[in-house]
């Protein structure tokens, strides 16, 4: 493979990491609190607000059921408003974030719901406020699950990022389609797929490792 092509792969990898990294970060910033709220706001729960819970649940489901490529196109005006442009890697972060935040929220919700309700009662019994319960009990106890959820979200974002070529977002997926498919360069397609596989492996292994390190539940037993 020529040095120019290798250069293209390196550049695309950088774009992918940039988009996925930032989208995961911002998506978590929105998705984590949203997920915690979804997990704690049903009737009788810590932040009981059943109606808000319902409405947010519907919004999350609606976002998640919209095909990503349609979402990318549909929110172009919003993307332009936020990123100043609707084209390029930075602009692509907007739809990636909007797609990942509800996904992360649902994963966070599931992880938080795994925490034994007895622990919430226990913390309440010694006078912990709802915020203290979230920060000192729910999130630390759910941490292994949260790390695995975040890992899953990053891997999914790598897949989504292949589609942002549609708005000139660049990245590995875009490279694979333009060179590998449209210009019929199978070696380019293969190289892109190999890099993506390696990235997913790396992310998954790192996530598994971290989750295992913080999981005290099964140690020595």
């Amino acid at each position: 493979m020529s040095p120019e092509l290798i250069n293209l792969i390196v550049q695309a990898t950088g774009e992918s990491l940039y988009m996925v990294g930032l989208a995961a970060l911002i998506g978590t910033a929105f998705g984590l609190p949203l997920g915690v709220f979804l997990a704690t706001s049903r009737k009788g729960e810590l932040f009981a607000a059943p109606v808000v819970n319902r409405v947010l649940g519907i919004v999350v489901n609606a976002t998640r059921s919209t095909p990503f490529i349609i979402l990318v196109v549909a929110i172009i005006p919003f993307t332009r408003l936020v990123a100043g442009t609707s084209i390029g890697s930075t602009a692509a972060i907007v739809p990636l974030t909007i797609a990942s935040a509800p996904f992360i929220a649902r994963l966070v919700e599931a992880a938080i719901r795994e925490v034994d309700a007895g622990l919430i009662e226990t913390a309440s019994s010694f006078g912990a406020s709802p915020i203290q319960i979230v920060l000192k009990v729910l999130i630390p106890e759910a941490l292994p699950g949260l790390l695995l959820a975040l890992t899953l979200a990053v891997v999914s974002l790598l897949g989504y990022s292949a589609m942002v070529g549609a708005v000139g977002g660049g990245g590995l997926g875009d490279l694979g389609i333009r060179y590998g498919y449209q210009r019929f360069m199978p070696e380019m397609m293969l190289a892109v797929v190999v890099v993506l596989i390696a990235l997913v492996q790396l992310v998954q292994s790192a996530g598994d490792y971290l989750a295992r390190r913080v999981n005290r539940r099964l140690r020595h037993r």
């Binding site: 913390a123 019994s125 010694f126 406020s129 630390p140 106890e141």
Partner: protein, 383 residues
């Protein structure tokens, strides 16, 4: 089965009077109560097709300061609701719960959280955070109360020593045994120096030996720190070993309350009697029961069961009966246990019928037992 019951005398013959001690009393007459329930009812409304539940009704009693009080009842009797009213995890539908002279049922938000710091609670399944070491679990209520780091460190070391697991400082719950986990739970509950410690079936998940050790620890804590302990349990053995006062709950009502010794030497309600039976047993050994007949066989024995209630009751009963009536009394079966320092149990005696004066020996024995106010029951005869 022929029954010549003589349970008419409610007072103890040989037992000592206990009225001199301060006992669980109606709320109105308890000036120095740690916890007072005043006309408490708790109703859970109907929800998603399930009918509403009257968990507690007209609860009125006080728990004396510094006491160890057992709340005993079958599952569904309302024990858990009762204990959760004390620390404000639940609110009464009507009535007041007064803890250490403040109406906890009227508090909310920050005021309630402050009050909760003076009420510790331990749980059946320990409820430790798996992500924190033993020391950090104990530190949690102190962090929540906003203690300084150095103060927390000193207090945690003190508590670990108090509950006897100073060497488990850095262990995670998954590395601890059930008994050790409950010790961490107890240390955590005591961290903020509460005046009341609530125990919700705290030994129900532990083996008998560990249960005994944990109950001993609770007794020490009550003695040395003066913490009032409220024990929720369905196990009579827990009440017997630890509590001085007892409240018997059934279907949301307090059916009996008072000193353990009083309640269980003279159980009135069927539920109380069934709890007592768990400890002392109320059935004869099968080998004996199957041999009992209703007509006196020649040369056989009359079978008389004597209830033993009170301190030292029954110690010399068989010897005195034999000596004073000149009978070769035999002991067919006996079970005596100690509850609140009082002996509780029953002796099953065999009275020889002799050659001709069979009914006479039986009558004399029953009269003698009646004279000394031992409730007795003539069960029949054995050959």
């Amino acid at each position: 089965m022929k029954a010549a019951s003589m349970n008419a005398h409610p007072s103890l013959a040989i037992g000592q009077p206990i009225e001199t001690l301060e006992a669980i009393s109606p709320a109105a007459t308890a000036p120095d109560a740690m916890v007072r329930f005043e006309g408490i009812s708790k109703t859970y409304p109907a929800y998603r097709g399930k009918p509403g539940v009257n968990a507690l009704q007209n609860i009125d009693f006080a728990i004396p300061r510094g006491s160890i009080t057992g709340v005993i009842g079958r599952s569904g009797a309302g024990k858990s609701s009762l204990v959760r009213l004390i620390n404000g995890l639940e609110r009464p539908t009507s009535g007041r719960v007064v803890v250490d002279n403040s109406d906890i049922s009227a508090l909310a938000g920050r005021d309630l959280r402050l009050a909760q710091r003076s009420i510790g609670m331990i749980f059946q399944h320990f409820n430790l955070l798996s992500s924190r070491t033993a020391a950090d679990n104990i530190a949690l209520p102190l962090e929540i109360a906003g203690w300084a780091k150095a103060d927390i460190r000193a207090r945690v070391a003190e508590l670990l020593a108090l509950v006897g697991i100073a060497d488990k400082h850095d262990r995670y719950p998954s590395e601890l045994s059930g008994g050790q986990k409950q010790r961490v739970g107890i240390a955590r509950a005591l961290a903020t120096r509460p005046s009341v410690l609530l125990s919700d079936e705290a030994t129900s998940a532990l083996d008998p030996q560990t249960t005994r050790a944990i109950l001993d620890l609770l007794a020490n804590i009550n003695r040395e720190l003066g913490v009032t302990i409220v024990l929720i349990t369905h196990e009579m053995s827990v009440v017997r070993q630890l509590a001085r006062d007892v409240v018997v709950l059934d279907a949301g009502h307090v059916v009996e309350s008072g000193h353990v010794a009083d309640i269980f030497t003279h159980p009135k309600h069927p539920i109380t009697q069934s709890f007592l039976a768990e400890v002392i047993g109320d059935s004869l050994p099968v080998s004996l029961a199957s041999r009992i007949v209703s007509e006196p066989p020649a040369g056989g024995q009359a079978v008389i069961r004597v209830q033993v209630r009170g301190a030292g009751a029954g110690d010399t009963l068989v010897a005195r009966l034999a000596r004073e009536l000149g009978l070769d009394v035999s002991l067919l079966s006996a079970r005596i246990d100690e509850i609140g320092g009082q002996h509780v149990g029953s002796l099953t005696l065999g009275i020889p019928l002799g050659i001709s004066s069979g009914e006479d020996a039986t009558t004399r024995t029953l009269a003698w037992l009646s004279q000394y106010q031992f409730p007795a029951e003539h069960l029949g005869y054995v050959a």
